[in-house]
Symmetry: C2
Subunit: 306 residues, 2 copies
């Protein structure tokens, strides 16, 4: 039999996946779970694709600001837009979460959902990562693609549960992960149904509807999926509650944390500032969550490596 | 070949379903849609199961008020609770939507999601319809069960898109319709993730999060499913926008409206007051939506009929 996880080195992490899947899919084991009930949830940024030096969606925001700037002359002097237009992302981010939200709303609203999907798809197919010099959809982790496919082949429904914008992610998640739009849960804008030129449209409003992070993740899992997952994969404290909720069920479960330890092949920022990973690591041992150390556990990081 | 829609009389409605499914599932037809993209959306109350003399969930609310009353002595004199406790549902409903919302919040919040699921399941398995004298899960429409199964057999994903409470519906939708929890979209309470006795729980708060009706339905379809359905089934003006959105796509689509015309086998309240059906009927002709006349089109209404 071919190894379904060929990019994983033998070790605790790979074995934990194989054991877990055997436990829930082998009939007559007490840990067996019927196919329809097999749900797995995945964080996206830093778990399935790169999040360094910034979230992919942040680069999308900055490019959109550049693109829209001619329509908004006031942005030349108004923060955080002025810093973005000067290419000074550090200053742009100095305003923290509220500055980021302002940038997102200015660039992700005012168009229909169909128009936004086209904008996001176009950007994702053309924009390139600043240092890796490849389109972002190529910057996914090969071992995680194998894991997604392995679970799907064993009748799991894979869901993405990410802080990223749901419609931004949907512009590429089916293509790159094989996860259909209805299995993508993310942050969202408010929307409004209305008529334009004799056709119904759904308009994106410049107002946050739901921010899918931390304690919002298990609440969203219950709200959108309606049952507890068997497996959860994350890489930061933003995934802590999702890991807790997933592994607090009565049956077999798997919680996994990806650690970014490989500065040669990817980025070494373990416990770093992009998305803090502290409490989840502290809890991992007592909760039995399995650590994936990229440097140690992954034979190959990106699909394009030889 | 056995007739997949055996409880449907031959006629325009049945033929429209068969033609639509042939059009989107026959390879090489220009109207062909790949299996993964086949989404169908169904209203629940009055489309898949009875909604007369009141919504099923309203009976659940009233029974819950009776059950909880000993803990709330003030309800004996406080409306709308006092009228419910006297069995005077007409007076209880006199306060309109805000009275109903108050009743729902008083009976659907303050417990964990797991506790609520158990309460709803217990009620659904024991409570009986006031005139039909059967548990509500038996009061589903046999022709619609056949339609759900027929679409599913042709690789459609069926979603319920209803104004009913999502967690109330999920307590029975998999069992009665074969629709898993993650394919049920409804109205919802706000929730909160927290710890109780060393375990994480999701607490239901007494506050409306989303009301899934009218223009909210297409917005919810985009939000939860992320793509336009091919087929929509409803029975009231609450489904008007969902029908519009579904059939405004560029490819083949099917919009259907169930009319309650059969006072002998079910309830005759076509265009009646429970859930008004006026504008959707006016628009049906120009939009090409197909009318299902229960009296004319359904050979059998309920599964228990001989």
């Amino acid at each position: 039999m071919t190894d379904p996880l060929v990019s994983w080195n033998d070790g605790v992490a790979k074995q934990a996946i194989l054991d877990f899947v055997a436990n829930v899919t082998t009939p007559n084991r007490p840990s067996f779970v019927p196919p329809g009930d097999r749900i797995a949830v995945f964080d996206n940024d830093g778990t399935l694709w790169v999040e360094q030096p910034l979230y992919v969606q942040a680069f999308f925001v900055f490019d959109r600001v550049q693109q829209l700037a001619p329509q908004y002359p006031e942005w030349q002097t108004q923060e955080p837009f002025a810093s973005v237009l000067k290419g000074d992302l550090k200053s742009a981010m100095a305003g923290g979460e509220s500055a980021l939200l302002e940038l997102v709303m200015a660039t992700h609203a005012g168009m229909t959902t169909d128009e936004f999907a086209a904008i996001a798809k176009d950007w994702l197919s053309t924009a390139k990562h600043p240092t890796l010099r490849r389109p972002y959809p190529e910057l996914v982790y090969q071992p995680m693609l194998e894991l997604l496919a392995y679970l799907q082949a064993h009748d799991f429904k894979n869901f993405i549960v990410s802080g990223g914008g749901v419609e931004f992610m949907r512009a590429c998640t089916e293509q790159i992960y094989g996860v259909p739009p209805e299995q993508v849960i993310g942050s969202s804008n408010k929307t409004q149904y209305e008529w334009r030129d004799g056709k119904p449209v759904i308009l994106r409003l410049p107002e946050l509807y739901f921010f899918n992070d931390k304690a919002g993740k298990p609440a969203a899992i219950q709200h959108y999926i309606g049952r507890r997952p068997l497996a959860a994969f994350g890489n930061s404290d933003g995934d802590l509650q999702m890991l807790q909720w997933t592994t607090a069920g009565s049956g077999a479960s798997l919680g996994m944390i990806v650690r970014h330890t490989d500065g040669d092949r990817e980025f070494a920022y373990d416990q770093g500032s992009m998305s803090s990973l502290k409490q989840a690591l502290v809890d991992a041992e007592k909760e039995g969550w399995v650590i994936v150390d990229m440097k140690r556990d992954w034979k190959q990081v990106f699909p394009f490596e030889q």
